[in-house]
């Protein structure tokens, strides 16, 4: 019985993320912005910890999403465009194992990139005694879950497209998923068309609801993120990721190189 190549591919993705410098630079920059915000908030502006937490979560969200899109959109398409795919797929690895390995490596690398930003946020919250560290950790985890889903979506798109198309479409999906409630409301208000309403409904159910992962308001205002909600959202992320990964592996299975 041969060992699964999944961890081999995952480690390779993490090594690539580190060597190509994009992820460490984004993480470093994010950490720098959060730290600078902390000093500005506490010593210059005299604003309270809520402002700092709000900005910190925004930074983690922005830099994490950027890191996810940059890393994941170049995974499969990068292999195809640089023709390294021939060397990999001529080895005893199944195509779905390559896709899953890429996914696992990507979400691990993104987790490693996001962790120090969350750590700095928690450090300054601890210094300022500005709320529950556990809730901040939960908030960071929920953000990472959203990046996990985004990774699965981006890999599904990458299974049939190039890196630029994948990056662009993933951004569109991500933004649209955040805006979809507004789109439905707009469709309902502006048109009386049944068709427009149905299309808006389909749009609503087809796209992942990334708003589910947004617990920033609760954490910033010292609210609680219930464990049951955390569990449900984790299950939601797992189900969505599996769906998009299944889609991606099926498409990738049919591709010719």
């Amino acid at each position: 019985m041969m060992a699964s190549p999944l961890p081999v591919v995952a480690r390779q993705v993490m090594r690539e993320a580190w060597r190509r410098r994009t992820l460490p630079v984004l993480a470093l920059f994010g950490c720098g912005v959060i730290t600078a915000t902390a000093f500005l908030s506490f010593f210059q502006l005299g604003t309270d910890i809520k402002f700092f937490k709000d900005v910190a979560f925004t930074v983690i969200f922005l830099f994490g999403a950027m890191a996810t899109l940059v890393l994941v959109s170049t995974q499969l398409s990068g292999e195809i465009e640089s023709r390294t795919i021939y060397n990999v797929l001529s080895k005893p690895i199944r195509r779905y194992e390559l896709v899953l390995g890429k996914f696992l490596g990507s979400i691990a690398a993104i987790g490693i990139a996001v962790a120090p930003m969350v750590g700095i946020l928690m450090f300054f919250m601890h210094v300022d005694q500005g709320g529950s560290l556990l809730e901040a950790l939960k908030g960071g985890f929920m953000l990472w879950l959203s990046f996990v889903v985004l990774s699965a979506v981006a890999l599904a798109i990458a299974s049939f497209s190039g890196s630029i198309v994948c990056g662009a479409v993933s951004v569109l999906v991500y933004v649209a998923s955040y805006l979809k409630s507004a789109v439905i409301a707009y469709a309902g208000l502006v048109t009386n068309s049944r068709l427009a309403g149905d299309a808006a409904q389909a749009f609503y159910y087809l796209l992942p609801n990334f708003e589910n992962f947004n617990v920033r308001t609760a954490v910033v205002h010292n609210g609680l993120v219930p464990w049951a909600y955390l569990f449900r959202t984790t299950m939601y992320a797992a189900a969505l990721s599996m769906f998009f990964l299944y889609l991606g592996t099926q498409i990738f299975e049919e591709r010719e190189f």
Binding site: M2, A3, P5, V8, V9, Q12, R15, E16, R19, R20, S82, R83, T84, Y86, N87, V88, L89, S90, K91, P92, I93, R94, E256, F257
Partner: protein, 314 residues
Amino acid sequence: MPSAISVQNLSKRYRNPHRAGRAALRSLTLDVPAGEIYGFLGPNGAGKTTTIKLLLGLIRPSGGGGSMMGFPLGSVEARRRVGFLPESPYFYDYLRGDELLHYYGSLFGLPERVRRERVDALLHLVGLWDARRLAVRKYSRGMLQRLGLAQALINDPDLVILDEPAGGLDPIGRRDMRDVLLGLRERGKTVFLSSHILAEVETVCDRVAILNQGELAAVGRIGELLGGSREMELTIRGANGSLGRHVATIPGATIHHGTDATVIVVPEQRYLYPIIELVRETGGQLVSLGAKRERLEDVFVKLVGSAQAGAHAA
């Protein structure tokens, strides 16, 4: 002798509209005996790379099928026993040479100790030991080709598929590559060698298959393909005009005036004696005389050239 590769009626027609004009491969039936070096020849666009991609499962056949090392084409079990060097190999440029080999070795599930031994041995074999800690992006074309060969051998494969392995190699690199191929055959491995360098193929291969326009044009042992020509070849120094006039009267004979000597090819031995007599009478010098040995290049040009001429005429 068991077959390392056996394909029957293998066909491929691309769905891509830009390539839909003709089938890339038409009903290819091929048996590659184990333990031999098998040359796979053909002009550009003949379907060689398509065939290799079909063998490895990188693309799917439109018809037919086959097996590699006893397992279905493209299956994981088959690929476990195969090493592959693509044409102009590309690698992860952020890795070092040794890291790259370790990565590919890991994909075969090789334990670290075995991997380390193999990586070290292969780096020595292909002459990249000193460059092992260099990032792949700093490798020259020839070094990449050597690294490509090393990664193709990382699993100690029973079958090695090489697509234009001499591309980018200097003469020493080519000689080294030839030595590696011969060494593999000595160890009972099968080598499936797709190449444009016919002299190289003629030197190392036991058998060849010639592919043209997606179809098998010829297949057989090198000796069989080159055939038993009855043509004779003479090399003469100091030939004069009367010799040329005489040769012109022989049907099928050719004369080629070089700077230093004249080469005459006659279709049969009986035409030799009058020529030798004429050379002696005119004070010329017979430098060499022997049966004309057909080269693989001649066979290739004959097969491919006539098929292309036929296609143009049609």
